[in-house]
């Protein structure tokens, strides 16, 4: 193979190489991929193994396990526990509640909902925060003041309490602001709530970076060449923010999944009969003493997903901005030559 010098490699290839050297990050990326595949397989499992949908109730259904007949919900209202493969995969993790819905099917579909909300709200947050950060940091003056004050106001609110209030009211009545219309119970309601409260956490640091970048020579050169504000912001400054934005994006997904879980646990997120991992913990909480797995399993799924995204996010940060790692390690007294990590 032809040897390629470091100078000839593009920055993205170098970053990829650095990321692949981080075994922990790669392992957790693999775990995240597995989780995604798991939830994507929901329709297959539901149709071919469980033979039921995520919201289908089986309160009075009986399972035939060998010679034994087992009730999905006992007359006392206790849902059946995990059956693993004893009933051919049906009720693999048991039933979710007195409604007798298949916990495994709801876990898979609920994961799709949780991941969808996490990724989409993460994406929207990232786009909105990037635009606001660019505008505030580049224009400064009154534009910066207005954006900063609005973000300050949102930042100063008790996020969870306000999110619950907003989530509950929107879950009932929906939202209509001009062309934006959300019906109550829509999955877009928690996405909207999450985005409103997480944008400041990304927009503020991005604004700081834009402020610093706009002082750089390459920006002055672009302006001197007659580039307009849009071109300077999006063609000159934005590419230099790419690494920060990518890291933020992964962390946003993780944080937003936790936010969604909290909202759903408190009844202000995903609305029944649809499930998310947060709402499943809420349902399982009532049966914590008799069927603890109903809360533990979706909780574990959230834990693993958020952990994986955080570690992947850290890995991406180290790969895309090795200097930050050096800075961090300098604090810990374990400085390495910068080239060593390249």
């Amino acid at each position: 193979m032809e040897a390629v010098s470091a100078d000839e490699r593009g920055p993205w290839r170098l970053a990829l190489r650095r990321f692949l050297r981080n075994r922990l990050a790669v392992a957790f990326l693999g775990l995240f991929v597995l989780i995604v595949l798991f939830v994507l397989a929901a329709p297959l499992w539901a149709e071919h193994v469980a033979e039921t949908g995520p919201n289908q109730t089986h309160t009075l259904q009986k399972l035939q396990v060998g010679d034994e007949t087992r009730e999905v919900v006992s007359p006392a209202g206790l849902p059946i526990g995990p059956q693993w493969f004893e009933a051919g995969g049906k009720f693999f993790l048991g039933a979710d509640s007195r409604l007798g819905r298949d916990e495994m099917v709801r876990l898979m579909y609920g994961g799709r909902t949780s991941l969808f909300i996490g990724i989409v709200s993460g994406l929207i947050t990232t786009i909105v925060a990037t635009i606001l950060g660019l505008l505030a940091g580049y224009y400064r003056g009154w534009v910066d003041s207005v954006i900063a004050r609005v973000l300050d106001v949102i930042w100063s609110l008790p996020v969870l309490l306000f999110g619950i209030a907003l989530g509950v009211s929107l879950a009932v009545g929906g939202l209509k602001i001009g062309p934006l219309e959300l019906s109550g119970g829509s999955i877009w309601v928690p996405i909207f709530v999450i985005c409103v409260f997480t944008v400041p956490y990304m927009a503020r640091p991005l604004r700081g970076e834009v402020l610093a970048l706009s002082e750089k020579e390459f920006v002055e050169a672009a302006v001197a060449q007659g580039a307009g504000p849009l071109r300077v912001m999006f063609a000159e400054i934005l590419p230099n923010l790419a690494s920060t934005i990518i890291v933020f994006f992964t962390l946003n997904i993780a944080n937003n999944m936790l936010f969604e879980a909290a909202l759903s646990f408190l009844g202000a997120g995903v609305q029944p009969p649809n499930s998310s991992w947060g709402s499943m913990i809420s349902i399982g909480e009532e049966l914590l003493t008799t069927q603890p797995l109903l809360a533990i399993i979706p909780g574990t799924m959230i834990l693993l997903t958020v952990l994986a995204l955080n570690i992947v996010g850290d890995g991406l940060r180290d790969a895309l901005d090795p200097r930050s790692k050096v800075r961090l390690e300098a604090h810990a007294g374990t400085v390495e030559p910068e080239g060593a990590s390249v």
Binding site: N55, Q56, T57, L60, G77, S97, R98, L99, P273, L287
Partner: protein, 543 residues
């Protein structure tokens, strides 16, 4: 109107009173005296007899404010018998059914030592209107009451009293078969003239019963002490009314029912007023039934309503199909054994109840009927509240409708404002949903007039969620409502029940059971329970 367990308690108060009249003091094996430690999951809506309209409030004040009439202390249908309270006898009713005459028992005193006067009844009725009590609609049939409700001045012309003889005469605008029951509600329990016309929850009015409320701290708790004038005066005037066994009771609000269960198990509290949470129900039942725990029937109906004014439920065949699809057996499990399946308007225990089953569960038949009806609009919204297991019942109903072929959207509202929202006709998409009804008083009219009569359809605070109005049935409700309840009327109400179920504005699925859970220090067998007024405080006794 009672929309929840909380509201349900209103009747319990009166019932508690009556229960005590008959049954308390019957246990002679237990100890006398002591302090009863009680826990409620929430503070009552009001600690004021004219205002309270919840189960907690009526239970809390049942031994404190005795109305002119009250209910017999017994379970089931026997407990629906109205008996004299502060009045000497049941009312004498004129031949035209419009004049009720009662006499106050002589020698009665309030806990502050002032005499109870006949005019205090008129004062209490006026106070009820002045504070805009939720119970005032029961009494607008009194001559001049509607005008008084508007002007709040000039007195109620239809109530005449004579303090000397103790005579109380009530004139009605038209005969009202439920008036006797309504006189047994605490809304019109006498209070001293001059009692402020405001919410007195923090400083409740003087008592007429064996106990008086002291140290009321809204949101936190209250205490009972013996009424100092009970032994001196009232018990002599009402010798049949129980005096109670404990000397004192301390009530603490503990908002977590799981904690309440643990505390009663450990003996920290002697009684939890609210029911056991579903998640602990079977555990407590299996461990303590018969010794510290007992299941109690209620006179209630749990049902799914269908809006008969909007497609697709404007078609009776569609509504009947839904009745075939709903399976009370499944809902019994969803309520974890705390519900007994029925499919009719009137619940067991209510006068006029005759069991029938028009719609035995048959999903295939339901689907076929829906196909035959072929409604043009299958897109519906299903409503329920957040309170467990009503939310799960709503989810079950939503699932059943989907299985039948409807396109559904489920809306789950906070229980605090659920009935306000679905009772407002301007709320969009009120197609179908969950509801329950606990009797205000043991009279079948209470299940038809407010819930199913055409004249009960209101733009706001509507309780006729199905918006059903059948002229012939409306006429029958009005006719029966003017008559005193007797065997003939009970038969007519049973027929009305069947006719409404043929019209199928609801898919009823059961009647709720409640429970009493006490510590091992308490004599469970001595506790008197009435389906209208629940546990009677005067019957609690230490072993």
């Amino acid at each position: 109107m009672k929309k929840s367990l909380a509201v349900f308690a209103v009747f319990s108060l009166a019932a508690l009173t009556s229960i005590g009249l008959v049954a308390c003091g019957s246990s002679d094996s237990g100890k006398e005296g002591g302090t009863l430690d009680v826990t409620y999951a929430s503070f009552p809506d009001y600690m004021d007899p004219q205002l309270s309209y919840t189960a907690e409030g009526w239970t809390a004040m049942g031994e404190v404010y005795i109305p002119l009439l009250t209910y017999k202390g017994a379970e089931g249908k026997a407990g629906s018998e109205v008996i004299p309270g502060l009045a000497k006898d049941l009312p004498e009713i004129s031949d035209d059914g419009k004049t009720y005459t009662l006499f106050l028992r002589p020698g009665l005193k309030y806990s502050n030592g002032k005499p109870v006067k006949a005019s205090d009844f008129a004062y209490a009725a006026e106070r009820m209107f002045k504070v805009n009590s939720g119970g005032s609609p029961f009494y607008t049939g009194i001559v001049g009451a509607e005008k008084f409700a508007e002007t709040k001045s000039g007195g109620i012309a239809g109530i005449e009293t004579d303090d000397k003889s103790g005579e109380i005469v009530i004139e009605l605008t038209k005969p009202r078969g439920t008036m006797t029951n309504e006189l047994a509600l605490m809304f019109v329990a006498p209070v001293p003239a001059g009692t402020p016309n405001e919410d007195l929850s923090a400083d409740p009015p003087p008592a007429t019963g064996p106990y008086v409320i002291v140290n009321s701290k809204p949101g936190k708790g209250w205490e009972y002490e013996r009424n100092p004038y009970w032994e001196k005066a009232n018990s002599k005037a009402m010798p049949d009314y129980p005096s109670g066994h404990v000397d004192k009771a301390v009530v603490t609000v503990v908002r977590n029912p799981q904690t309440q269960v643990n505390d009663v198990e450990q003996g920290k509290y002697d009684w939890m007023q609210n029911p056991i949470p579903s998640s602990r129900y079977q555990e407590v039942k299996s461990k303590f039934e018969g010794t510290q725990f007992v299941v109690r029937p209620t006179i209630s109906t749990y049902y799914f309503w269908m809006n008969t004014r909007r497609p697709p439920f404007d078609d009776v065949k569609v509504r009947q199909a839904v009745n075939y699809a709903v399976d009370p057996a499944a809902l019994e499990r969803i309520y974890a054994g705390q519900l007994v399946g029925t499919q009719q308007i009137l619940p067991p225990g209510m006068p006029g109840y005759q069991q029938f089953e028009l719609y035995p569960h048959d999903m295939a038949k339901a689907e076929a009927m829906l196909k035959e009806a072929n409604p043009s609009d299958l897109d519906i919204t299903v409503w329920t509240d957040t309170e467990s297991p009503n939310n799960e019942a709503g989810e079950y109903f939503n699932g059943v409708l989907q299985e039948m072929g409807f396109e559904t959207k489920l809306k789950i509202l906070n229980a605090d404002n659920y009935f306000t929202v679905i009772g407002n006709q301007s709320t969009a998409d009120l197609d179908a949903g969950w509801s329950d009804w606990f009797q205000d008083y043991p009279h079948p009219n209470d299940f038809f007039q407010p819930l199913l009569a055409g004249e009960s359809i209101l733009p706001t605070n509507n309780a006729n969620f199905a918006n059903v109005s059948d002229p012939a049935l409306d006429k029958e409700i009005a006719r029966l409502g003017e008559q005193q309840l007797g065997p003939e009327q009970e038969e007519a109400y049973a027929e009305l029940d069947k006719k409404y179920m043929e019209l199928a504005p609801w898919a009823p699925y059961g009647t709720r059971t409640l429970n009493t859970f006490v510590s091992d220090e308490i004599d469970l067998d001595s506790i008197v329970y009435n389906p209208t007024f629940f546990e009677h405080l005067t019957s609690f006794q230490f072993k």
